[in-house]
Assembly symmetry: C2
Homo-oligomer: 586 residues x 2
């Protein structure tokens, strides 16, 4: 944080009354404010800030100033990811070992994964884990969209406390269907966030026309969900920032790149990952990959760089401190070979050199999470196979139930099937790819559970479960065998979080996630191995989806159509109403 | 202010569940977000907000909806002046009678004129006078640059109270020389303003290179002082917003228009008046005149419109509510014949039609100022001619003194002259155009005064005074005769503020300014007559400057070089140090 004291030092350096700390001289500078590429430029810093920029900063260079001769290489502002999911899988420290070396110096992360399972104390512990790292984090407060009524909506007092914090830049993504179906759950949060002059991050996947406009009328200020250029154009015209997503959930840049030829002002276009997997991070890098790909997709290089720097900063009202290279801004800068080659040879963050030639030189800080954060699976007792029995009311030999049917690896639909009743209990039909799926709340309150059925998941035996599931406080488990399902859940309880595959009464693969039950503390390489082992184990049980864990954990989500499950029952996202397993007699 | 209730209504209209209030259909829409001009567009409002925009808003139109058929005319967002001086001459109500009919719907005003003479209570009364008007006002808190040490710097508690208010969007202009010379006076205000995420408005007239950068390094976010395109370019490259000034103080647009051909991103270019005189307002209009002139200077029409709408809103972080036509934004819209003809045929502000074809249809509210605001000339006693006598220390027959010499009508320099001493008192020399100038503090504390000399003002007899003088809490008076000077000041004391010309013991012209001693409550037409009478009266006394009142009142200012005067003495802006009248023996 700038103070009167740091201001005084900064001004002294700018005026040449005191020596700067770091000077980069003889660079081509990408000036994101004017859109120019300027040759023969130099920059000098004081502490974390830029003191001066121009053809000559010699007045600010003293004997102790570290001078880097760029020798004509290109200097760009540090890259910014405006919509990340850092409360997922990695710790920030581990993530940064790989993400910080490529030129990303600021990240705005969602927090929707933490708050439901760990509340405000967990949020604060999570935010603490982001502080004092080699690069800078901002976060959005969670808007708390969930198909579970119990997990919907953030507590107003918690939200106000979060909004008062400097690093909280807005309210996180609010899925438009949820807002349309249950506006009363979000209006106060929207009002409070607007009053704090912070952004309302949007999520308007598939919305168009009247419904899109009604959603945006709340004051929603961005969307990262368009998958085609015409969706981008519609949203830009409606005055919001559009984040073009190129990450592990989706890769939309190549398709959307057509927007470059539509003759529209690009100032509200942003590049974002929307989260990146360990595998993609290791293989491709982070924001530098997105900017490079935008250039490869024939965006003008300066425009591409603006889309990951100034535009993001302006969207969040952070351009007073980040997003460009200018006096008084934070000294976040990246040397690259030329404006078309986004390969960091030197990364400066907060005035410090943190990476050179792809090697990180600053150590991310390992955060010690609180005991509460490390003990978030609050199930008092182990579960048993019986807990997944579904008693059928009445005395019929069969019952008609709502079943989740997989349409793609992510999209589901509601089907109604009549299944046999054996001993008063509903029977699954693994032979016909109809198995049980259960959600067991681990927090809110612990122990509440709901068991249903899923068709087309592919599981021939065993069970698979995860305590990290989208938009929920539940452990989600799918199983062809109730005993294996119970073992899955109990192993997660022992691990205090994770993903587990069980077959024949034996754990065949697992990935511990002890932090909030959603984050691993393992090195990235271990995480990748564990994820591969999980994937292979699930495939071995018959599941053919490309990323079967993703398929599993999205079954509780509030954004992907249609039939979803939580501890309260089934929810068809078409109307957002909670339904019982059994169809009413018609 | 939007509430949960107004949100609900707005969304209902957007969805077609409730009828809108006002629809403008069949318009060419200037979409400032994308930079497009779109034909066949319609807009529908709910209360003060825009509910929907597009090719068809029929779903939102009911029997009670007022529908305006634009018949192909062009619809643009309401214009915004980002740097106005509303605490000067006019009341907001009177100003709006003329300013609101041309399409301006938001104004950001400085308040530096009010605070020094009326403190926080005066500020709050002034802000109250801006509220509930047909158009919307925002304001900056005063940074309090003054050549008077006693009037320098805003009280930190007052600043924090102001920054907490929604309509206060930043800290007002801080002249760069003052900041450079006395940084300790401004650092806390800059720190507090930055912490509130509001802007630091700049004033870097004439600064360049190292000094400019050192000033901007504080986090200064704009400047409205460039007079040439290269000055604009230098500032844009340094990451600030540049306001191109075209008002009554200066007209820089034609000269600066060369920036349009320099290939730079225009998103940080803004058009502003920096204040407009009653005469110019009546003759030319307000922001619509500036946009038209930008187009006439060959700016692209959409760019010109962006420079008075979206760009201004983004600079102040107000683009969540103003600056463009989109769902959820305030319904501020202007119908004009075509994108190149900025002549308002219908002005909508806050969802209400306030003007048609140049006629105002909404009445500005007349604010009742407090008794304290109307009694700001706190001189306990009338002054006498003797109060302008300058006793000379020692017993010499002459004394060497620092004299303000007029170089142009606004620029002065310091000259040292040896003048006779008569009866122990310094003698002016009206025959050689050396007359007395005095500043009498009316507030802070009342009665402190300083008398000096001015050369080249042109006054052959009489005196002229004003309680509205730049950057000061003083009445400034220039006179060839001490008795006339005293009469000037005493008449201002009777009027509780104003400008007065006296000759031969008689008031020959006056302009009462009872509000804070700086604002008239007279109709604009009366004000113009009074200003003409003042001007003619001063010219009649020999002053040949084009606007002699402006020349007078800038003599206390902190921005125009070089030698200035206040109740504490003379100040040469080269170093900002306060000096006595008498030169030390060398």
């Amino acid at each position: 944080m700038r103070t009167m004291q740091s201001d005084a030092k900064l001004i002294d350096v700018a005026l040449g009354r005191a020596p700067g700390d770091l000077a980069i001289v003889n660079a081509r500078l990408v000036n994101v404010y004017t859109g120019e590429i300027l040759d023969g430029q130099s920059v000098c810093t004081s502490g974390a800030w830029i003191a001066c920029v121009g053809e000559d900063v010699g007045h600010a260079i003293g004997p102790q100033t570290q001078v880097i001769d760029a020798a004509g290489a290109t200097l760009i502002p540090g890259l910014i990811d405006g919509h990340a999911h850092l409360a997922w899988l990695f710790t920030a420290g581990e993530f940064l070992r790989h993400a910080a070396r490529g030129g990303t110096t600021s990240i705005v992360t969602e927090t929707l994964e933490v708050y439901p399972v760990a509340g405000l104390p967990g949020m604060l512990d999570f935010l603490a884990s982001l502080a004092d790292q080699p690069i800078r984090f901002f976060a959005t407060a969670p808007s708390m969209v969930s198909i579970s009524r119990a997990a919907t909506g953030i507590d107003p007092a918690d939200l106000r406390q979060l909004l008062a914090r400097d690093e909280i830049v807005g309210l996180g993504e609010s899925y438009w269907q949820a807002v349309a179906q249950h506006p009363e759950d979000y209006r106060l949060a929207f009002t409070d966030t607007r009053a704090s002059r912070k952004t309302l991050e949007g999520h308007s996947a598939g919305a168009r026309g009247i419904k899109l406009q009604a959603y945006l009328a709340y004051g929603i200020s961005s969307c990262h969900e368009p998958i085609k250029a015409d969706e981008v154009l519609e949203r830009l015209r409606l005055g919001i920032y559009v984040m073009i997503r190129e990450g592990s959930i989706r890769r939309d840049l190549a398709e959307i790149a057509a927007i470059r030829d539509m003759g529209v002002d690009s100032r509200r276009l942003i590049l974002t990952t929307d989260g990146i997997s360990p595998e993609d991070l290791l293989a491709m890098g982070y924001m530098e990959y997105l900017v490079q790909k935008a250039i490869d997709c024939e965006f003008d290089p300066v425009t591409a760089i603006q889309m990951a720097t100034l535009n993001v900063a302006e969207h969040f009202g952070l351009d007073d401190r980040i997003g460009g290279i200018a006096p008084g801004k934070l000294a976040d800068m990246v040397l690259i070979p030329d404006p078309r080659t986004i390969r960091a040879t030197c990364v400066v963050s907060n005035g410090r050199i943190i990476a050179r030639d792809g090697r990180l030189e600053a150590s991310p800080r390992k955060h010690e999470f609180t005991a509460e954060s490390l003990n978030s699976i609050r199930l008092a007792e182990p579960v048993g196979a019986d807990d997944f029995s579904v008693p059928v009311p009445g005395h019929g030999s069969s019952a008609t139930v709502r079943v989740i049917e997989m349409v793609t690896d992510l999209v589901t639909r509601e089907v109604r099937l009549t299944l046999p009743v054996i001993g008063g209990m509903l029977a699954a039909d693994p032979a016909n790819d109809i198995v049980k799926i259960a959600t067991i709340d681990r927090t809110n309150p612990p122990g509440r559970s709901f068991t249903g059925l899923i068709k087309g998941f592919g599981l021939r035996s065993g069970a698979v479960a995860s305590s990290a599931a989208w938009d929920t406080t539940c452990i989600v488990v799918v199983g062809a065998d109730e005993t294996d399902m119970a073992l899955c859940v109990n192993r997660i309880r022992e691990l205090q979080g994770g993903a587990v595959v069980v077959d024949g009464g034996r754990v065949v693969a697992e990935l511990p996630m002890p932090v909030f039950g959603i984050i691993s503390e393992a090195p990235l390489e271990t995480l990748i191995d564990q994820r591969r082992a999980l994937r292979e184990a699930i495939s071995g049980l018959g599941v053919v989806f490309p990323d079967p864990m993703l398929t599993l954990i999205t079954l509780t989500g509030g954004a992907i159509p249609y039939l979803r499950i939580c501890e309260e029952g089934l929810v068809n996202l078409k109307d957002g109403l909670t339904m019982d397993l059994f169809c009413a007699e018609e």
